[in-house]
Each structure stands twice: as C-alpha cells, then as structure tokens.
Amino acid sequence: METAIVFIVAIICGTFSGIMPGVGGMAVMLMAYPFLVEMQPQNILIFYVVMVSIDQFFGGITAIVFGVPGSSSAVPSAMEGHALFKSGKSSEAIMFSAIGSWVTSVFGVILIVAMIPLLFMIYQIWNSTVQMAIFSLTSIAIIWISRNKLIVSIGLFIFGNMLGKVGYDTYTNDSFMTFDTPLLYPGLPIMPVVTTMFVIPLLIGSLRSSGAKVFEFPGVTLEGYIESFKKIKKYFATLVRAGLLGSVGGFVPGMSYGMSSILAYTVEKWVQIRKGSYRKGKGDMPSLIASEGANNAGTFTQLVPLLFLGIPITVSEALIYNILDTRGYPVTIEWFQSTFTMIIIFFLVSATIGLFLAGRYVNFMKYLNNLPIKWVYLGVVLFLFGAIGYVGHQTLAGGEHLLITAMLLPIGLLFYKLDTMPLIYGFILHDKLFEIAIRIWIMYT
C-alpha cells in the first residue's frame, strides 16, 4: 500500500518539478525529506527514480514551448525545441522528443543489464585523463558549432567561466569577485544566470526574428503520438547515439545525466552539420531528440554507482544514502543490488506514464492560443522571476537571488543577437575543467 502511495506522490512531484523552472529533483527531495525519512527503504529509491523520470518528460515540454530550460541539461532543448516551435513544428517536436526519451529510457535499462559484468571494467577506464579529454572536446565542440563567430563564442565561453568562478573556492581558499559580501560568497546561483544570459536573450531574439504575432500551439493527439511512434525509426541512429552517450554519461561520477545530455546534443549537432542538414535558427529535430533522449537514458543509469558500488554520484543520491544510513537501514551493496529489478520495473512504468501524461498536460497550453506572443513571453519572464524568488526563499535568499538577477540582466540584454550557449556551458563546466586540469598536472609532473 505504501509503495502505491509513494508511486503516485512521486508522479505528482515529478510533474511539479518538471513544469516549474528551477525546482529540480533535488529541491523536491528536500521538500519531501520529512516524509522520506518515514518510508520503507526500497520506497525511498522508488520515489526518487519515479520522480526524476517523470520530471524529464515535463521539463522538455516547458523548454520547447516557452524556451525555458528547467535545468542546465534542458538548455539544448530550449534552443532547438523553441526554434522548432516557432517554425510551426511544436507538436512534432514534443511528440518525437517524448517518444525518443521513452525509447532511450528502455535503451538505458537494456544496456545496463547487458553490461553488468563489464561495469567494473568501465569504471577502471573512467580516470581523470579520460574525463579531461571528454570535457575538453565537449567545450571545443560547443564553441565550434555555435552560430556565433568563433572569436565571439570563445569570448562568451570565457565570460561564462568567469561568472562560474565568482564566489569563495574551498579548493584554492580564495574568493573571486565576492566584494566581501555573503551574497556572492556561494557563487552565482544557476537560475539567475540561465534566465538572464540565456532565456531572456533567446526570447528577445525570438520576438525580433519571428513573423508570428500571436501564440499558436496546435497541441498533440493520440493519433499524432501513434504516427510519430511509427516514424521514430528514421531517427534510429540519433537514438542509438543519444542512448549510448546518455547511459554511459549517466553512471560515471562527475558527469551525470545533465552533462551527458549536453554531450549527446553537441555530438548530434556536429553530425547534422557534417551531413549538411542542420539549419541555423530553425531548430533541429535530431539534436532535440538527442538532448532529451540522453537525459532520460541517464536518469536510470545514474543509479548504477549507488546500486553497484555504494557511491552516490548526485546530491539527491547522497541524501537517500544519508536517510538510509541515519535510520539504520541497510546501505550495503548487496541490499542495493537486491532492489535492482524492482527499480527497473518502476522506472520503465514511470517512463511510460510520463510519456502519456506529458501528452495530456501539454494540451493545456492551447488556452494561451491567440494571445499576443510578447505578452506570453512577458508572462514567462515574470514567472521565472517568481520562480527565482521562490527557490531562493527556500534558503532565505529570495531577495538576494532576485538582486543578482537584476544585476545580471543588463549584461544579458546585450546578448540578444547571440547564441549564448557557450556562455552557459562555460559557467557550468568551469569547475570541472579547472579541477581535472590541476589533478592531471600533479599526476604527470
């Protein structure tokens, strides 16, 4: 009985975190913390896996329709998906990305089950040198494939790095541009940065380039879903690439499914450019499917280090581990492994539910049809400011987060003609690149 309730509540929570920008899985885990500590141990794992799986389906829709990424991993979906939305391909974009996500979810499970005997070997390959190579190549590719001039993309990437470096670094015991204020001591929060440096420039650029004056969204239908399911095989190669990169990226520590989504997107975009099928500014379906698909494949595989090595690789997993540990529940690898089959079942069921629930939810957006598009965008921006204040309020820093947003906004407004993805990735990747580079330097000198 408890498992059934947990399952339903996890679906509701996943929907909430997917729709609400900035309210990620971790925030929901914290809100649910008082209830989690009372649950049976296997139900804590079920709650997490179901919630994260559902979250991925809903987060993609908000990114496609409004150009608002719920998290850093959804930035590519916002970029390509919203461009497809403006080109009148919103229904296709939503259906293909949802079906693609479902396919890669199943792909991730099959891959992991098949690879169990090889898991330990894969972890032995995942050393700092390999990490550095992957992160460096991803950074170069992100700069290279951007629609900006090369020098502009490099500048944006460096600027993103600088924004990421703001704060006190326990690694070097130095602070950078904190001006001795506690406000900047923990670094710039991601939501204000993504909102001001990516969403607002994207929406302004969109308003200026789009011929459409009113919001038009035809919605999705069951027939459309079935038709898209039949057509999805034309993206077979994309799904395999995304599934593979998402699955492997999900379970290697230091990468997680967010990073693997970025990697899959970068690779796919590069492939499409090479094939000559990528159209700048019009949105690219394979790149969208790759980004969304890798995300979903990784949501399951990220549990593998916890289940097979007892290593929690995300903050949410650390929270689960801690609850089990402090309550005296089993935290042995044997126990984790014994829950593996059950986790697989709940993950696959929740992915299927997510696929159809997302299809139902998205049609509510038809209520916005025929509203002037600038008012819809203004509503989106105001909603985001509210979300930033709300998320900040959870840590008594709502005012501070809004202040940071206000400070960054004038800079973001300058970028409305640019593709600011290099900046966002510079911001996200900065500490990983620096940390691994220092480690390799010490190892080989």
Binding site: M29, Q124, Y168, T170, N173, L319, T326, R439
Partner: protein
C-alpha cells in the same frame, strides 16, 4: 462593561505574552550545508536532541549566510560549523564563515582522518605507502589540503597527493585504480583503513600515523565541528546534545566528543589560531 473589556484585554495580553515567551524558549537550528552531508547530520543531531525546545530548522545557502543570519537573529539559534570555516583565505583576509568569539559555544565532534584503500587492492600495502611511488587521493580543501600534503611528504617523499573536490570523486578514483590510497574520515563498503591519524587506534586501523613516521606533521588530525549560536546563554547545548538519544544512536560513531573537558577559552584558542 469596563470590567469585561479590562478582563478581555488582560487575558489577551497574558495569552500573547505567554505565547511570546513560549516562542522565545524554542531554539532554532541553522542548516547551512547540503542536505544529506555530514554538516546536515551534525545539525540534525542538535535538532533531535533539543526535543520540545526545538523551534524550527532554518535553511540558508552556505556558512557565510549562516553567519549573516546569526548576526541578525533575535531568537535563540544554534548551529554546527566545521573547523575550516575559521581558516583565513590565502591572501590573509578573513574567511566569511569565521565567527567572532561571542558566537562560539563549545567544541562539538571530531573524527580522525584515516589512510584507506580498496580492500581488494593487494598492492596497497603499508610498505607501498611508505616507500612506493603511490598516488594518494585527498579532499582538496584550502584548510586540510596543505596539511595532507605535508603529512604525506613526511611519510613518503615519492608519494603524489592528488586533490579531488568531492569525496565521491576520490572514491570512484580508488575503484578506477587512478589512486592507490585515499585519506578519508569514514570508510565505505569495499574499503579498508589501516592507518589512522590519531593518538590511538580506532575502527579497523592497524596502526596510528605516528608509527609510520614519528615526526610527521599533522599525524593527529581530525575533521572537526564546533557549536556556534546566539541568545542561548544559560542553555547547556553540548550537555543536551551529548545526553540525547539522537547522539547516542548516531551512525557516525567515528565522530566523538572533542576537547569537551577543556575550558571554552582554550577551545577558542585552538579554533581561532
């Protein structure tokens, strides 16, 4: 009529003042580190130990925000801060997480660091630790990092100390074989910790660090927390916590009371030097 009004007002005043004094009796607990981590567990022990006296858990972004909150707090509030929050920055400037003496309550808990390796790694022997060209993964922190490096240089000049930002990274690196040893406070499944940086053997340790090299600096080194708070004069927070069931039943048994018999002044000298 006047009497009735007077009675109502008096009752209202009494109820309000009672509720105010009730609220004031409650002690809030400040959480400033990520949920699920050690810092969170340390403040959770305090919250649980307070029982009926517990007010609410106030979650802030980080330790700097916690200090800013303490400065403004009107209610009784208490938290647990790690030692490194008192360390000066590299340029000599004050750490934004450092507290003035008036907020320092007492030492809380400490766990000695240990040298660990994967249990199935047959080449990770004591002899290799002392003489081999081994790689030792450590948590690279502005406070502890230089201490780990100095300790390892004294134990084995051929060893390379490899910094990792998070514990999960060097645990994965142990599995990957990128490093041979790690310096951790708590061993996880599949790990053994033969050497402890302590003055006596604890856990599954086979020896203390001074047995490896008597002159090694920081051979007694722990990860430590202290109590900090405001408006809790007259309330013996350490006594409440250490007598509580939540503390007695804690899972982190390597974390124990620390310098608790020393005077507050002496304790303050240790953390503020």
């Amino acid at each position: 009529m006047k009497k009735i009004l007077l009675t109502i007002l008096t009752t209202l005043f009494l109820v309000m003042s009672a509720s105010v004094s009730f609220a004031a009796d409650k002690i809030d607990v400040l959480q400033h580190s990520r949920a699920g981590g050690l810092g969170d567990r340390m403040v959770t022990y305090i919250a649980d130990a307070l029982g009926d006296k517990f007010g609410e858990k106030i979650v802030v972004d980080n330790c700097a925000a916690a200090i800013a909150y303490l400065k403004k707090a009107k209610n009784p509030v208490v938290t647990a801060l790690p030692f490194e929050s008192m360390a000066k920055q590299n340029d000599g400037s004050k750490n934004a997480c450092a507290i003035p003496k008036k907020y320092f309550i007492n030492m809380y808990a400490a766990s000695p660091w240990s040298v660990c390796h994967r249990t199935d790694n047959a080449s990770a022997t004591i002899d290799a630790l002392r003489n081999g060209e081994v790689r030792v993964g450590v948590w690279q922190n502005g406070f502890y990092g230089p201490r780990f490096i100095a300790f390892m240089k004294a134990i084995n000049p051929n060893a390379k100390v490899i910094p990792y930002k998070k514990a999960k990274m060097y645990r994965a690196a142990l599995v990957a074989g990128e490093i041979d040893f790690s310096i951790s406070t708590v061993a996880k499944d599949g790990e053994s910790c033969p050497v402890v940086l302590n003055d006596k053997i604890v856990g599954d340790a086979e020896m203390i660090a001074q047995d490896l090299e008597p002159k090694a600096p920081h051979s007694v080194l722990g990860y430590s927390y202290f109590f900090a708070g405001k408006n809790v004069k007259g309330i013996d927070i350490p006594a409440i916590v250490f007598a509580s069931e939540s503390w007695k039943n804690r899972r982190d048994h390597r974390y124990g009371q620390f310098m608790i018999d020393e005077s507050r002044n002496k304790q303050w000298k240790v953390i503020s030097k």
